[in-house]
């Protein structure tokens, strides 16, 4: 029992010797070590060799670093234009994108939309003319459907002058079939209808024509905008390239 106690104390003191050398033990621990050292020659010897070891390590001279470890030459200096570069790049990309969209729209209108509109123009114009006819002839009691039929018939009559004399009877026949208050259209009515017949190039602007016209009216402004965007793109692109070049130069 006593031996076991002494052994555990011996082991404990052996572990405390290192801190004892450094004066890092509590009063109680230091007292325990000192008491044990008076009784244990092995621990006294351990303490001595441990002290010599620590002294030897402490004698190691300070080694001069082989070089300087300063960092300024390794670091890319903080550039005040770092964020400016990001914004410039973004603005250049935006200008380029807008320019592309605008040019694509412009070219698309000129070479795709405008010719298509020109090709399609007569048909919608004719339809619009037939629809507009009742508006111009408000006094006419004939509904638009009837009007259309009349116009078609009238057109046929115009195209084929030979049966000109028959032009009136079908009109009369159709007029009679319709539930209008005046079953037989008067020659004045026919005469009123005739001026509203569609012409291949309408004098007034149709809806599609208006759109095209409006677009063409906008063309100078569009070109101005394109020019401004091109200028902005060139200036921004140049500034971006310059800043990038400065960044690269400052890096080396």
């Amino acid at each position: 029992m006593f031996k076991r106690f002494k052994r555990s104390e011996h082991e404990r003191v052996k572990e405390l010797l290192s801190a004892y050398i450094d004066g890092e033990l509590s009063m109680e621990e230091a007292a325990l070590v000192e008491k044990h050292l008076r009784e244990c020659s092995a621990c006294t010897q351990d303490l001595e060799t441990l002290r010599q070891t620590v002294n030897l390590v402490r004698q190691l001279p300070v080694i001069s670093p082989p070089r300087s470890f300063t960092i300024s030459h390794l670091m890319v200096p903080k550039r005040p234009w770092a964020w400016g570069y990001v914004y410039l790049r973004g603005a250049t990309a935006l200008a380029a994108l807008l320019l592309i969209v605008l040019l694509a729209g412009d070219l698309g209108f000129q070479y795709l939309w405008a010719p298509r509109m020109a090709a399609l123009a007569p048909e919608p114009m004719a339809l619009e003319a037939t629809v507009e006819a009742p508006e111009t002839e408000i006094e006419m009691p004939v509904p638009p459907t009837r009007e259309t039929l009349d116009q078609v018939e009238a057109q046929k009559v115009e195209e084929t002058p030979a049966p000109l004399a028959e032009a009136t009877p079908p009109a009369e026949r159709l007029g009679a079939a319709l539930p209008s208050p005046e079953p037989t259209p008067t020659p004045e009515l026919v005469a009123a209808v005739e001026p509203s017949l569609p012409s291949p190039v309408p004098e007034g602007l149709t809806y599609a024509g208006e759109r095209a016209e409006r677009f063409f009216a906008l063309l100078p402004t569009l070109r101005l905008l394109e020019g401004a965007l091109l200028g902005a793109f060139l200036i921004l692109g140049g500034a971006t390239a310059l800043v990038k070049w400065r960044r690269m130069v400052s890096q080396y």
Binding site: T49, L56, L60, I63, F69, I71, L74
Partner: protein, 199 residues
């Protein structure tokens, strides 16, 4: 350097002033390099670890919350050394003997050639002894006996308790002592450990 001067330099370095940080580097590079050298046992590896540690310190200086700046640097360099030791363990390329034969530590100047040779031999053997220790014990021993840090400072640097520091240091010193005793005749006579009952 006064503490206020150090604080001024740290504040400037926080604002990105590399020149101010360089002054701090010049102040502590010797201590940091020596610690790295004793932990890693190789000049090139120590140089790399020291440079990495200072770069890391510069990048993380915003996280420095006051206290001992030197202690903070020691913490960074010991972590860097841990990483290097782990990598070295994974890829053992050079034998320990080759490392020590190749590396000639630059000793202090103004020293007699004979004294220089003896101390070089002592340093080589102690360094070999240090390398035999587990990395935690080695770091504790280097910080305590070479860098002169207190137990409390070592605990902060290593991020551990005082009790663990005591234990690591005790075991490390005992192992180094046993290693030096085992070297016996290899040590220069004046540096041999004197054991009672032996010459």
């Amino acid at each position: 350097m006064k503490r206020t001067e150090e604080a001024t330099l740290i504040a400037a370095a926080r604002q990105g002033d590399t020149q101010a940080f360089d002054q701090l580097v010049r102040l502590y590079q010797s201590a940091i390099y020596n610690a790295a050298y004793r932990i890693l046992g190789d000049e090139d590896a120590a140089s790399d670890a020291t440079q990495d540690a200072f770069l890391s310190a510069y990048r993380a200086i915003g996280k420095f919350r006051g206290g001992s700046f030197k202690g903070w640097l020691f913490r960074i360099v010991t972590n860097t050394c841990y990483d290097q030791l782990r990598r070295k363990k994974r890829q053992p390329t050079t034998s320990l003997e080759a490392v020590y034969l190749d590396s000639t530590p630059p000793w202090a100047e103004n020293e007699e050639p004979e004294e220089y040779a003896l101390r070089q031999e002592l340093g080589r053997i102690i360094q070999q002894g240090l390398t035999t220790l587990p990395s935690e014990q080695r770091i504790a021993l280097v910080l305590s006996d070479i860098q002169g840090l207190s137990y409390q400072e070592i605990a902060e640097v290593m991020g551990t308790s005082l009790g663990t520091v005591k234990s690591r240091l005790s075991r490390g010193r005992a192992s180094l002592r046993d290693y030096l005793l085992a070297q016996g005749e290899l040590l220069p006579p004046r540096y041999r450990l004197k054991v009672e009952g032996h010459a």
